[in-house]
């Protein structure tokens, strides 16, 4: 089998077929377990029941508002994390004094679980929107900043030296070389960490939320609406992959100069 050689390329058609196959297999497994009656509906509803539930949720339970509320929270928390984390990470990656000051502290805090901070956030921020945004911020900010630092550290010293010999001053080297050179890495880091921000959504909406996908899921748990829970989970997955596709498109559009495979 020539396609089983490590790192060998495969035709696009085969790639897409294999991807479709994995989804089809999951659906087939799901259908087999449910339509045969092997798994009770309470544990796992059949695919058509999920579709019916989704329609009901959109039509009667304002699921769209929940989606908007969740997207708003995740975006707010993430934008806040990125707004502080990107400039801070760039500084930490280029100036040793900034690294020495912030890296050990951030590295320490990032191992503290965001969910464990929820009682404190409630105490400090109350149970309004800011508490939920805080959980998402806390869940992403530290990792994001450290990843941006690493991206910036990888900027080639030779490029910086070249810029100096072409007349660039020590301060201008930030926006002349370091920033444009790390932009692809920054956008890629944002893509990955936005995904993480989504995974903190349900945790953030556990407490005193009156809207949002996480809230909907927790409500459905109370009434044992298994199908609603699954609809909520699938929607979070779909939004996640849409954002991923968006960032990948943005990457291609912004960085036409990146060679194939990311090499330069």
């Amino acid at each position: 089998m020539k396609y089983l050689v490590p790192k060998a390329d495969i035709p696009d058609k085969l790639y897409i077929t294999l991807t479709a196959l994995s989804f089809a297999l999951l659906l087939a497994l799901w259908s087999g377990l449910t339509y045969s009656g092997f798994v009770p509906v309470l544990f796992l509803p059949a695919p058509d029941q999920i579709i019916t539930s989704a329609i009901t949720l959109f039509a009667e339970f304002n699921l769209f508002d929940d989606i908007l509320a969740s997207v708003g929270r995740v975006t707010a928390g993430f934008v806040l994390a990125a707004g502080i984390g990107v400039p801070l990470g760039v500084l930490m990656g280029s100036l040793k004094v900034c690294e020495a000051f912030a890296e050990p502290l951030l590295g320490f805090i990032r191992y503290m679980p965001a969910s464990a901070f929820i009682p404190l956030f409630i105490l400090w921020l109350g149970i309004g929107e800011s508490e939920k945004v805080a959980v998402i911020f806390f869940g992403t900010f530290f990792q994001l900043t450290l990843m941006i630092m690493d991206v910036t550290k990888n900027v080639s010293q030779a490029l910086i030296d070249t810029a100096y010999t072409l007349g660039v001053s020590r301060s201008a080297v930030f926006w002349r070389v370091i920033l444009p050179s790390s932009m692809p890495g920054i956008v890629d880091t944002l893509r990955i960490t936005f995904g993480w921000a989504w995974t903190y959504l349900v945790v953030a909406e556990i407490v005193a939320a009156s809207s949002g996908l996480g809230h909907m899921i927790m409500q459905s748990q109370r009434f044992l609406k298994t199908s609603h829970i699954i609809v909520g989970i699938i929607i979070i997955g779909v939004i996640g992959i849409l954002i991923d596709v968006f960032f990948k498109g943005l990457y291609k559009k912004l960085f036409p100069w990146m060679g194939k495979g990311g090499g330069v």
Partner: protein, 261 residues
């Protein structure tokens, strides 16, 4: 003839994990205006360190470097540099790379474009203005890097094994191309290499360096006329000088090899 560049008793000591390594020891030489100097030495002899000190990218541990009588305190656009590794800015097109230094200097767009067009033609890359470096071959990248350095019109051009990463054929082509471009401006050039043929073919004067700690071992005048042509590589005077240089380098390479064993 005036002294363009004076390297005055320069030493450089690196400390690495408490160990002190002398890369360069009491090195002195002068470079005349419009001279093409090649610096020939075994690997690790500190020849790149000299260039970095002249460029202002490294500080000497002792001694000083004077350009037009003024001591060098840091990097500046009056000393252009071409590196062995590919250092084109990957996010800029060929044209934007060549214009980079002019843009930093705040030159008007039309002037930048004129200069870039001139050098694009010189290096034979007209038509590649809008290509990104990732689409260029190694030789093309180095041609653009040379154009970028020259477009800035530096007082001195420092070249750190610029063709070291290229294959032998491309290398020969690049040597001739650089000489053609040089004939036009006769810019003062310091060209570091470990290739004896290259050092003779390109230079007016060759400084041969010792193994670490590096210092000047010999100064050889190249008796060949300008403009150089590739068949000069077979001339008796070329071959004689090559024998002499090879002998000098061989001694130093053995020293390095033995000290590493």
């Amino acid at each position: 003839m005036t002294d363009k560049l004076v390297i005055d008793n320069v030493s450089k000591i690196f400390s690495d994990k408490g160990q002190q390594v002398t890369a360069l020891q009491n090195t002195s030489f002068t470079v005349t205006q419009n001279e093409f100097i090649t610096i020939l030495g075994p690997s690790g002899c500190g020849k790149s360190t000299i260039l970095k000190i002249i460029a202002g990218l490294e500080e000497p541990s002792s001694g000083k470097v004077l350009l037009d009588g003024r001591e060098i305190k840091g990097p500046g656009s009056d000393r252009g540099m071409v590196f062995q590794s590919y250092t084109l800015f990957p996010w800029l097109t060929v044209q934007q790379n060549i214009e980079f230094g002019l843009d930093v200097a705040g030159k008007a767009k039309s002037e930048r474009q004129d200069i870039a067009r001139h050098y694009l033609e010189k290096i034979g890359l007209t038509g590649f203005e809008n290509a990104y470096p990732s689409n260029l071959s190694g030789g093309m990248k180095q041609r653009v890097a040379i154009a970028r350095a020259l477009a800035n019109d530096p007082q001195v051009l420092l070249m750190d094994e610029p063709f070291g990463a290229l294959d032998a054929q491309t290398r020969t082509v690049m040597q001739e191309l650089l000489l053609t471009v040089w004939e036009e401006s006769h810019k003062t050039i310091l060209f570091v290499t470990h290739d004896v043929d290259e050092a003779i073919f390109m230079g007016d004067t060759i400084y041969v360096m010792t193994a670490r700690p590096g210092k000047i071992k010999a100064r050889l005048k190249v008796p060949l006329l300008r403009a150089r042509t590739y068949d000069m590589k077979l001339a008796d005077s070329f071959v004689d000088l090559k024998k002499q240089a090879l002998e000098l380098i061989r001694e130093e390479s053995w020293k390095t090899a033995n000290s590493n064993m």
